[in-house]
Amino acid sequence: MTAPTSLSSPVRRRTVIATGAAGATLTTVASNRRADAAAASRRYFQHGVASGDPLPDAAVIWTRLTPTPASRPGSGKGPRAEVEWEVASDQRFRRVVRRGTFTTTAARDHTVKLDVTGLKPATWYHYRFAYRGVRSRVGRLRTAPAVGSSPRYLRFGVVSCANWQAGYFAAYRGLAERDDLHAVIHLGDYLYEYEPGGYGYGMDDRDIRPHDPAHEMVSLADYRRRHAQYKTDPDLQDAHAKYPWIVTWDDHEVTNDQWKNGAENHQPRREGDYRRRRARAHRAYDEWMPVRMNGTAELGDGDRLYRRLTFGNLAEFSMLDLRSYRTEQVETLLPFPVPTTEPAVSDPDNTITGAAQLRWLKQALTRDQSLWKVIGNPVMIAPLAINALPDQVVVPVNDLLGVLPDDGFPINVDQWDGYTRDRREVFDHIKDHQVQNALFITGDIHSGWASDLPYDAATYPLSGSAGVEFVCTSVTSNNLKDQLGVPARSAPTRAVEAAILVNNRHIKYLNFDDHGFSVLDLTAKRAQMDWFIIGDRAVKDTRIRYSTSFATKVGTNRVTQVSGPVGR
């Protein structure tokens, strides 16, 4: 694949070099003009540009127009406006391949989102918008490889869980500074619903920078304003401009621990009907994210987020929605990481996917379009439990008494461990059809993990493995170290990590201490995940460094540590 030249923001990274007096004068004039243009651009396009869901011949492009100072996000104010857009095969827009005009209004919060079609596969494009002759910054995107083609490799940034109040998005800066990715995968918790002081930095929830609006987001205007606030972050803007994104949501895009008819952080008496609140959250998400919902870039035509994206015959991504169709989480007496003995986690009536999405996922696994069956999986699927007993023991006991969870006593029932029958159905399907190279990439849990996926955790490795899972850590959201208020790599988190690893032989890597991002690299020989970690989230320019890498060789369904990261 061709490595594109670096794109720098015209606003943030402009460098002026002048030689001699005449040169200095000309440079100053030119510089002033550029500064004026940049200021105008900042005025109209305050929230950057973005692209997403690349197909071999299409991609979604996005921006948000602020046509008047009064047209603030969520305000419902501002005129109908015509925004020009163009897509070119070169950075200077000498070879424009598509252009058009998009009409936006306050009814859609002045967002601009369209599906650009007629593009060539596996090709870098540049795009920009213009309003009243003022151009936005330039974004770039890469289309997916053609159906049936065999890309030599694919490389993706992988992120999740970015809490504005908990700190600065250095992890996004890390992605934007790279030049070797094809897309960024966001696995959910792109934004958080909490009010200032509600969820922030460390165990006392200090706000490094407070949320807007200054209350929990509940109304459509709230969700729009919160999305808008996040998209003012310069690192996030750079990462969006640099690569197309492939996103799914977890719970906080609506509210904490949501399920299909409610959420832990939803109080109907004060906050109204949950499904209406969720519809508002989904509407804002559709407006503000470069994603096809219900298969289109249109608004208001449905909120189905689970979808497939194919990258030649090397990889197919099945992006899951594990919130909109799930049944309510089993109630537990004590919070994570205390295990529960509640057998209801294995109730066959509980579902994390919903029946239709589960059928769809199984079809995706069986149809075998690509070598790597990558599942964009908002919450962990690897069993994470203690005292797992072999199936030969659990099944007859439960047939008689129904007192044991299928896969041991789970530590977190908000993930697949709280819905073990769905997990078993997926794993059995993999086994029955000998589906190879199922690769779950996951967010949610604010920590880094690499794991095999045992058919029976108690007898693993003899029971065999259904695939592997790589979990990226959070961009900023508190991890266990933060919640305990202890330094990194200190005894308390080490003790929990050790206890988990001893009780779960299939888990090969666990890091409860760090924040950052990951890079997933796929070839026909192996899949590798690199973890990069940041320093203090409270420091804007905090250092980013490489942490570790794990890989799975094709066909093995097992992860092993490897010596270094890809592409640096």
């Binding site: 065999s150 890309p151 059809h433 000998q434 190879q436 003899l462 020989k525 094709v554 066909g555």
Partner: protein
């Protein structure tokens, strides 16, 4: 016995060994003794008629197709198979390779050499219900294959071909097609296969003394040990591991011989399996005969050819009731515990042909079929034929410049690709009538 465990032939029908002996006795093949260890080979008594165009017999190219019968792709990633792992790493591998329905030994070996699916080759499974004879039998007769093989195509171009097939029924179905053939011995009782140590001796002797352009070798131990491995359902696979290590070492000697004799630089070595393997416990057995016989429409009118993890159901009742019977068989089969799916044999994706009957039923992973008797027909723990046994190793090594180095392909390869690959390697022009179903992987 069902499926893979030895041949099932009607009373009075000669075994493949008896058929082969008769070919030698009647002068159609000439017996040769090679290798100094009592190894017996036979060669065609008369040179095959040459095809139009320039014969290729002066070529130095050599192709070796080594079938590690029943091997799982991931078994080559362990420490037991260093020779196979190295060969795979140095050449071109296909991690998405698959066996084709029915995932059994005979049809997939036939697909390897014909390059076409069973609806054209005539061989859909190990065992069929032979409607003409009214009996269930193994597909082990030379005339069961209805199309040309790449062996015969090479013969017609003046090239020498050799088969070294450890299993009696493979020896039977490929019959006298190759110019040179190993007469497998000793054949173990029940499994009706020659241990790999003997098969490899034969392959080396054929290499040294007959030097065929194409050699087609089946190594049966990994499969045979897997079938009988009672530790398989526990994941231990003790016997199987022994077989993997032994067979890998034997393949190492074969590769060493290619290098020491200078043949390596002119060679491609295609290594693949015909299917993989799955294990079940004694309590996970599916028997459909009683279910079919319990239905008023189907009673006494359904014959079953059991193929390990796949049952082939044949409607023998009135033609007028055929469609209703097919629907009924499928409806009943999918309700039986352990059944994964039941398909109309005419489903376009199956491409099995009428020999496969009317309904194809697959079991789930960890289960097996035993029909008609749930007790005696299939007592062995290791089985294949169902989708859980579809993935296979498939890679191409060798020293010939046509072999890509250190590469992996994300495309799907399958057993039907072997014949077109061999044909391409030797530069054979044209395709079989109707074209290949597979494609060259070079």
């Amino acid at each position: 016995m069902s499926g893979c465990a030895g041949g099932r032939r009607p009373a009075g029908e000669p075994s493949p060994a008896e058929v082969g002996a008769n070919e030698i006795a009647t002068g159609r093949r000439t017996l040769l003794k090679l290798g100094g260890a009592g190894l017996a080979f036979s060669s065609l008594a008369a040179q095959p008629a040459l095809a139009a165009g320039a014969p290729l017999k002066d070529t130095k190219k050599r192709a070796y197709v080594l079938v590690v019968d029943g091997c799982l792709p991931e078994e080559i990633d362990g420490a037991l198979t260093p020779n196979l792992r190295q060969l795979r790493a140095n050449g071109l591998r296909f991690p998405r390779a698959r066996s084709m329905p029915i995932m059994e030994t005979i049809p997939n070996h036939v697909m390897m050499m014909t390059g076409v699916r069973p609806d054209r080759s005539g061989v859909p499974s190990n065992t069929i219900y032979d409607r003409k004879r009214g009996e269930v039998r193994t597909m082990e007769r030379p005339d069961d294959i209805k199309v040309d093989t790449v062996i015969e195509r090479l013969n017609r171009h003046g090239l020498r071909t050799g088969t070294v097939l450890s299993k009696d029924y493979l020896y039977g179905i490929f019959g006298g097609r190759a110019t040179d053939r190993w007469e497998p011995f000793p054949l173990l009782p029940v499994t009706e296969h020659a241990p790999d140590v003997f098969t490899m001796r034969a392959a080396l002797a054929m290499l040294d003394d007959l030097d065929p352009h194409l050699m087609f070798v089946n190594l049966g131990d990994i499969d045979r040990f897997g079938h009988s491995d009672v530790t398989g359902p526990l994941g231990v696979k003790a016997l199987r591991r022994l077989a993997l290590a032994d067979t890998d070492a034997l393949i190492g000697t074969f590769l060493d011989r290619l290098k020491s004799t200078g043949k390596w630089r002119d060679s491609i070595v295609i290594v693949l399996a015909d299917h993989s393997m799955d294990w079940s416990t004694f309590d996970r057995v599916v028997s459909l005969q009683s279910t079919m016989d319990g239905d008023a429409l189907l009673r006494g009118k359904v014959q079953i050819a059991a193929n390990g993890g796949a049952d082939l159901l044949y409607w023998t009742g009135p033609r007028a009731d055929h469609e209703r019977a097919v629907a009924r068989m499928r409806e009943l089969a999918v309700k039986v515990p352990g059944v994964l799916s039941a398909h109309d044999r005419r489903s376009p994706s199956l491409r099995l042909g009428p020999q496969a009957g009317d309904v194809v039923v697959y079991c789930k992973a960890g289960w097996r079929f035993s029909d008609p008797s749930p007790v005696t027909d299939n007592p062995i723990p290791g089985n294949h034929g169902h989708p859980a046994t579809r993935a296979i190793p498939f890679f191409i090594g060798g020293g010939h410049p046509m072999v890509p180095r250190h590469r992996a392909s994300s495309t799907i390869a399958s057993t039907i690709d072997v014949a077109p690959t061999v044909a391409r390697f030797f530069g054979l022009r044209g395709e079989p009538q109707g074209g290949w179903d597979g494609r060259s992987r070079l």
